[in-house]
């Protein structure tokens, strides 16, 4: 399976449609980058992970049932690579540069919520990001993250609780 179709004419098959790698990157690159950024909280690491995810896609070339399937595969790959990133010896022995969200384009409330979410442990941050930003349901997240649905729900619940604590109750996530 590996390295079978990686020539310049390779296409990513999404159901009846097929896309070039460039088209897939332009379509889903932003999604993957944003997810990676939400997980690792660093622009450069997020960029590295994004590139790795797409190169991985190029090498494996799985057949997708649809564009949504392709997106889910990319997000799953990004999540796994982020977990590997945190498990790496380099990451464990060094202190990464975590970026806050003090972007001037952010409002005060946006920055506060974003920083509070990014301060959550990865397992909560992951489900909250995918649930609220990417719009996946708990059942879909269970399939995407390969975990029981109840685990997804409990992580969502605990993540919300931690956010409320962090924002001192001034947070309505529902």
């Amino acid at each position: 399976m590996y390295g079978e179709t990686t020539d310049t004419n390779a296409f990513v098959h999404c159901g009846d449609e097929r896309f070039t790698m460039d088209a897939v990157f332009l379509k889903y690159g932003q999604t993957v980058f944003r997810a990676a950024y939400a997980f690792v909280k660093n622009t450069h690491d997020a960029e590295d992970i994004t590139q790795e995810v797409f190169i991985s896609l190029m090498r494996t070339m799985p057949l997708f049932e649809s564009g949504e399937h392709c997106k889910a595969w990319l997000l799953h790959a990004a999540a796994n690579r982020c977990k590997s990133f945190f498990k790496s010896a380099w990451q464990r022995k060094t202190t990464g540069i975590e970026e806050n969200f003090p972007d001037e384009s952010f409002t005060q409330s946006e920055g506060a919520v974003a920083n509070a979410v990014s301060a959550l442990p990865l397992k909560y941050r992951e489900v909250i990001y995918l649930y609220y930003i990417e719009g996946y349901k708990a059942k879909e997240l269970a399939l995407l993250l390969h975990m029981p649905q109840n685990t997804v729900l409990s992580r969502l619940s605990r993540g919300r609780g931690l956010l409320k604590d962090a924002l001192k109750g001034d947070f309505d996530i529902e």
């Binding site: 990157f25 980058f33 939400a38 409002t107």
Partner: protein, 221 residues
């Protein structure tokens, strides 16, 4: 604060144009490379190559050693080289060289004067078509002597030479004496001196036969 703040905050997170261009370029380069094999696949290939080398190296070393042993068991020089080397050695020998024989002839042995044409015929094995079989028979001194005697009595080579030169009638040849002048134990070729005589002739004839593992030479006196 609510979830919309989080959603709008994340909307600000975007890839830079430089990163986008760089990634597209990298994807194109990866495509052109024809798809690199995953690293673990390379590891398998490397591991297999190492195992093959580890298996093949002792075999190769063993073969090389055996080859060297076989080489050391062979004579120092190839047969052709030996033939070339032995001819000058024979020529240097005072007993075998034609010049020495001529001197002896001048020294009073007038009966040998008519042998002058033949005594210079330090004939080598190629001339007589020596075969490998009869040479190998002469491995030991005794066998070599037998072989040399056979050459003298039945040697068509000598007969052929004698016929060509018109010198002798080998059919009536008889051996008066035979002597081993040198043998391989002294690092030299087996050299035999035969004194022969034609039955219908009064004058004896001295023949020298040089044998070694690879050739024989038939020398007339």
């Amino acid at each position: 604060m609510n979830k919309n703040d989080y959603i709008s905050a994340m909307q600000h997170v975007k890839m830079s144009e430089e990163f986008k261009a760089e990634t597209l370029k990298k994807l194109a380069e990866t495509s052109i490379e024809g798809g690199k094999k995953p690293i673990y696949f390379k590891k398998y290939i490397m591991a297999a190559a190492c195992v093959l080398i580890m298996l093949a190296a002792p075999i190769a070393i063993g073969s090389y050693s055996k080859l060297n042993m076989a080489k050391s068991a062979l004579p120092m020089a190839a047969p052709q080289d030996r033939a070339i080397q032995s001819a000058p050695a024979a020529a240097k020998s005072p007993m075998l060289s034609g010049a020495a024989m001529a001197e002896n002839a001048d020294g009073g042995a007038g009966e040998k004067a008519d042998l002058a044409t033949n005594e210079k015929a330090a004939l080598n094995s190629e001339e007589f078509g020596a075969s490998a079989e009869n040479v190998q028979d002469a491995a030991s001194p005794t066998a070599a002597l037998d072989h040399a005697r056979e050459l003298v009595l039945n040697g068509g080579a000598y007969k052929e030479t004698a016929d060509k030169t018109g010198g002798y009638n080998i059919d009536a040849l008889e051996i008066i004496s035979e002597e081993l002048l040198a043998d391989e134990a002294n690092g030299k070729d087996n050299i035999f001196k035969f004194t022969v005589r034609e039955k219908n002739a009064d004058l004896p004839l001295t023949l020298y036969v040089a044998l070694d593992k690879n050739e024989w030479r038939f020398l007339l006196d």
